[in-house]
Amino acid sequence: MFKFKIQEGLKVIQPGQLVEFPVAQIRGDFPILQRIVHNKPLIYFDNAATTQKPRSVIDTITNYYTSYNSNIHRGVHYLSQLATDDYEKARKIIQKFINAGSSDEIIYTRGATESINLVAATYGRANLKSGDEVLISYMEHHSNIVPWQIICEQTGAKLIVAPIDDNGDIILEEFNKLLNDRTKIVSIVHISNSLGTINPIKEIIDRGHRYGAVVLIDGAQSVQHAKIDVKTLDCDFFVFSGHKIYGPTGIGVLYGKRAILEKMPPYQGGGDMIKSVRFERTIYNDLPYKFEAGTPNIVGAIGLGEAIDYLHSIGIEAIANYETRLLNYATHVISEIPGVEIIGKAKHKSSVISFVIVGIHPHDIGTMLDVDGIAIRTGHHCTEPVMHRYGIPATSRASFAFYNTFEEIDYFAESLKKVIKMFS
């Protein structure tokens, strides 16, 4: 069923490479991919919104609640020890995954959004003052805009926005001009969720550091597609969400350099984030617990660790390679359809294709494809400034994961043609 059609004359696909990536076997690992939607096999092209979960992650969650559910830390009983061990083991898996120096630098959060809010509310509040600047880009997700707006309003700092060009690339000359001694924080997305642009973050981090700014990288769309090494990158903060990397919802990660995290005031107060509590004085806990008040998402963390193990079993480079081929093939096929315009043509792109069709609203496209069993996303993708930049209210977006196939892309293209025919 999942044999690929190799189209003659198509340069982007190397037949020799196709057999190497075991997509049929991988699809077997994801139970939801067997689903029928509107009497059609599900084609899931909404991976930038959330990814599906492999059986191993689902089993891990079930197993936790079935056999060792209990609260972590300070539990003297057997189950509490098991839960604590796995919760902390997952932290080490994450540490290795992004090559952090220590697992103390891995803070569990609810997701990338909370991670950014945490940095804004603690580091931002403690370090920003009137006249300081926070530099972001035009292609940020709302979650990397609004937390900074809130903190700028409270501190009198200014939010500065670096422009992007028609292809969807940050205009680096403009970005460089906007950096100055007042720039205290640079917060940039690694891969744009609505345009697919892969930003030159190493260069951005180095430039930010030259002006003494701390640099946060929003990796919500990148950890699942590329090898991340926070040591080599030298970023001060790196954030991502578990559910976009084949793990559960409600768990995410904030990586921060130890020296910076140690100086930051706590985020929320409560249990677990303290060493001792007196009414006169409370002593905060060490890293990473200082930032983890309350009972955390225990099974979320364990599930995320399992998801990363699963990715390792396939290999992040093999995944990146295959997804690039999916992107190139889809870009080629979609570009051939008259009337379709791709929004976001950066030189370096991730497997996300945003597009518009002249005269057909994205909502109508989304509904039509849904009836064919194809799940895509339509709307502004939480990046309204990007939509304004291109003068469009919304786009349709197909985003691919390593369990998608070339055959699915062909079917998607046929379905798009039907939409165009119906509305012409």
């Binding site: 909502h363 109508d364 709307g379 209210p393 919304a394």
Partner: protein, 157 residues
Amino acid sequence: MNEIQELYQQVILDHNKNPRNFGAIEHPSHFAEGHNPLCGDHLDLYMNIEEGIIKEVRFNGSGCAISKASASVMTTILKNKTITEAQELFKSFQEAVTSDTETLIDEINLGKLAVFCGVREFPARVKCASLPWHTLINALEGKQESSIEIQSENHGK
């Protein structure tokens, strides 16, 4: 007819392509702006009402096929209706598109509006069909300045 043909009936596709009463009225007696922040649909509704009768009604804006066709069909129906009649049409329309799919549609009462009942199979699209009608009610109630934001309604699914 399958559910997609039911949703995008010929009448709807036609009104989407060739919307009736499309454009502004320069000095309307009644005006309201409708906005659906979820999908960015935007609609300006203009009316001239004399002695309680809608003499002229036009609309402007951008949106999906369903919202555009719904606005277009609405304008053709409202002409020469009294305010009370318009309000009653709103009620019948709203009731019909939010009813569950088992409920029989009163086609005689709804007339041309019955074509929009296909949205019942697509809960996410009910707002699209309703937007022009909510804008109408705001215009009639004199809420010109306020843009309406339809919260997701209970569609039963």
